[in-house]
């Protein structure tokens, strides 16, 4: 192609016109700066200091907090607990959301009732639900012990406490997961199932060859957001177990809370926050890497 002689003359903008877009962005920038960026950088800075009981930065100690953290067995316990917690939350939450979405894929009488029921956990505050769980799990009057015919306090059992808190969290997440999976399922055209049924696919094959591949992008998104959310769960742990029994449910977020607001070690808690941020960041990057390896869908 010949070089074009047409020159694009850049339109001269007045000062006001140049300023206008920044004006639209300003409220967001201000809010994000006050509530996100300043605290974020403040946390990073504070993590490098020894702080007093009021959180004031006293001495610069470099990576001192980090070194202490990484050599503390309690911290590694928290990491291990967090990963187990996240694994259960994501597995159970995604499966619950996926299965409930599949159950309401086809129209049937009572569909609206079931759809609302499956989506409801999304609308419930985690603390409120934790309080209800506390009553349900009460060793003497709780319905769960009544049904199981058990007498022990499950929340006091180190083996069961984490599983119970994780399942509650998973169920709370399942409402949102249900919505995402439902919209993913709704976007699959009926004619694809019809074409597959003519091609000779039975129900299971239709599920494997049509539903599952079509939901891959949704599943990826749901897993990533669930992992991030699970790492940040706090309310239900605070109500139900307070990190206990022992350190059985002492996930990183709760440990941060404990270090900052019970032990008043703000610098140490800040360092732990930064580590948590790095863990979530690394996991998210890993997920995106795995997805790009798996080939782009659509």
């Amino acid at each position: 192609m010949e070089k074009s002689d047409i020159k694009i003359i850049e339109e001269e903008k007045s000062f006001k016109q140049k300023l206008q877009p920044w004006g639209y962005l300003l409220p967001t920038i201000v809010i994000l700066t006050i509530f996100m960026f300043i605290p974020f950088f403040q946390t990073i800075i504070r993590s490098l200091f020894f702080t007093d009981n009021f959180g004031k930065m006293q001495n610069f100690i470099g990576f001192g907090n980090y070194i202490e953290l990484l050599t503390s067995s309690s911290f590694w316990n928290s990491v291990w607990v967090s990963f187990r917690f996240v694994l259960i939350v994501v597995l159970v939450g995604v499966v619950l959301g996926f299965v409930s979405a599949l159950l309401t894929q086809k129209a049937f009488p009572g569909l609206a009732f079931f759809s609302t029921s499956y989506a409801t956990p999304m609308a419930i505050a985690s603390v409120g639900m934790a309080l209800i769980f506390q009553v349900m799990l009460n060793p003497s009057v709780g319905i769960i012990n009544k049904i199981l015919g058990a007498h022990g306090n499950m929340l006091a059992d180190p083996g069961k406490a984490l599983i119970i808190v994780a399942i509650l969290t998973a169920w709370l997440n399942s409402g949102m997961n249900y919505l995402y999976f439902s919209s993913g399922l709704a976007s699959i055209s009926d004619s694809q199932y019809e074409a597959a049924s003519i091609d000779g696919a039975n129900g299971f094959q239709q599920f494997m060859y049509i539903t599952v591949p079509a939901l891959r992008p949704t599943t990826f998104f749901v897993i990533v957001t669930n992992i991030i959310n699970a790492f940040q769960s706090f309310g239900q742990i605070n109500i139900l177990t307070k990190g206990g029994p022992g350190e059985a449910t002492n996930v990183i977020v709760f440990d941060i809370y404990r270090e900052a607001f019970m032990n008043y070690r703000y610098g140490f808690a800040s360092a732990e926050s930064v580590i948590l941020f790095l863990i979530i960041l690394a996991l998210t990057i890993l997920m995106f890497y795995i997805r790009s390896k798996g080939g782009k869908v659509q």
């Binding site: 004619s191 019809e194 597959a196 091609d199 049509i210 079509a214 659509q298």
Partner: protein, 384 residues
């Protein structure tokens, strides 16, 4: 052997809506049958019932010698091409076409060999590794055809396969599908709302309206011998002009009386008249191509018409005018084209040997059919 026989097939939905009423069709082996009708006529429902995607409320359906009422789609030995193509978006073109073979357990090498054979005539060889999203509309349509072809089905079902394509591509795909039918020598059942597609492709055409068969006949007969007013108006473009008239007896024989004119029927039409002319009200149909430009009024069967609009489209001249006894605007198609001024009185002659007469009440034709394939009609060339 792949005849498709429908005996009193009916479809009633749970809400009581009757989509198909007592459908009786006998589709022969290797025949190309087109279901045509306006939206809501039940044509797609009928096709989906043949495919097994809709349950059959009543009646019996046979594919070959097998009663298929309760046989699932995969066991009916049919293939279907969908309006939306329904390609599997995450599979390559090759895997899309090979999917049915994969489910049957055909080994991979054999599968891909068959795909290559099908892809060749459809000009898909170059794009076999692409995903459907990277294809043009025409290519997707051909993949859908390939997916159907690879199975060697007894019956091909096509549900408005061309409606998502642009006008030019539609014309070329029409020939592709017709050619495919000749090559495969299989029964084809094709649904469309486009009467041009129906007329150009079908060996026989089922005209449907509100779940009822209006006529099941060859394209030539649908055009020349419409059994009722619906078919008369549905087939042919531009639409047949429908006038309100009275069938009367005159000294010169049976005639049609309009508010200002009386036109005597031609001998041929008079001999085919099923009823005695005794002043009954009738619908008179005349196709735009059976109206001719007349030089002067005193010719026989000529009316004066005030031209409301004139369209010069090269080979033809379309003239739109009002006629006193017509409920809607009339159209005349002058071929060869000639210059006609708009907003001017002109004379138009009726070819009284080409008119159609329908009962006012039942809208059924009052003329006996003539043998179109023996006698022919000069109008045939103008329907496509």
């Amino acid at each position: 052997m792949a005849e498709v026989v429908l005996k009193n097939i009916g479809k009633t939905y749970t809400n009581g809506y009757q989509a198909i009423k007592g459908l009786n069709l006998d589709i022969k082996d290797k025949e190309f049958v087109v279901f045509v009708g306006p939206s809501g006529s039940g044509k797609s429902t009928a096709l989906r019932m043949i495919a097994g995607l809709e349950t059959i409320s009543e009646g019996e359906m046979y594919i070959g010698d097998t009663l298929v009422n309760n046989i699932p789609p995969k066991d009916r030995d049919i293939a279907m091409v969908f309006q939306s193509y329904a390609l599997y978006p995450h599979m390559s073109v090759r895997d899309n076409i090979a999917f049915s073979l994969k489910l049957k357990g055909v080994p991979k090498a054999e599968r891909y060999k068959r795909v290559a054979e099908v892809a060749e005539p459809l000009e898909l060889t170059e794009v076999l590794d692409r995903k459907p999203s990277a294809l043009s509309g025409g290519q997707r349509q051909r993949v859908a055809l390939g997916r159907a072809m690879v199975r060697n089905p007894k019956v091909f079902l096509l549900d408005e396969p061309l409606s998502n394509l642009d006008a030019k591509l539609r014309v070329s795909m029409r020939s592709t599908i017709a050619e495919l039918h000749r090559q495969l020598e299989t029964t084809f059942i094709y649904v469309t709302h486009d009467q041009t597609e129906a007329m150009t492709m079908g060996d026989r055409i089922v005209v449907l309206d509100y779940g009822d068969v209006m006529q099941f006949d060859t394209p030539g007969n649908l055009y020349a011998n419409p059994e009722n007013k619906f078919v008369a108006e549905f087939i042919g473009s531009p639409q047949m002009n429908i006038l309100n008239g009275k069938l009367i007896q005159t000294e010169d024989g049976p005639a049609l009386e309009f508010p200002r004119e009386v036109f005597v029927l031609s001998d041929d039409i008079a001999s085919r008249l099923r009823v005695e002319a005794k002043g009954q009200l009738v619908y008179v149909g005349i196709r735009p191509e059976d109206l001719y430009y007349a030089e002067k009024k005193d010719d026989k069967n000529v009316i004066t018409a005030y031209t409301k609009n004139v369209e010069q489209v090269g080979a033809d001249t379309f003239v739109y005018f009002d006629f006193l006894s017509a409920d809607r605007e009339c159209t005349a198609r002058f071929n060869p084209a000639r210059y006609v001024d708009v907003r001017q009185d002109i004379f138009i002659r009726f070819d009284m040997s080409k008119i159609h007469i329908f009962d006012k009440e039942t809208e059924v034709s009052l003329l006996d059919p003539f043998d179109f394939y023996l006698e022919g009609t000069p109008g045939k060339s103008s329907i496509v």
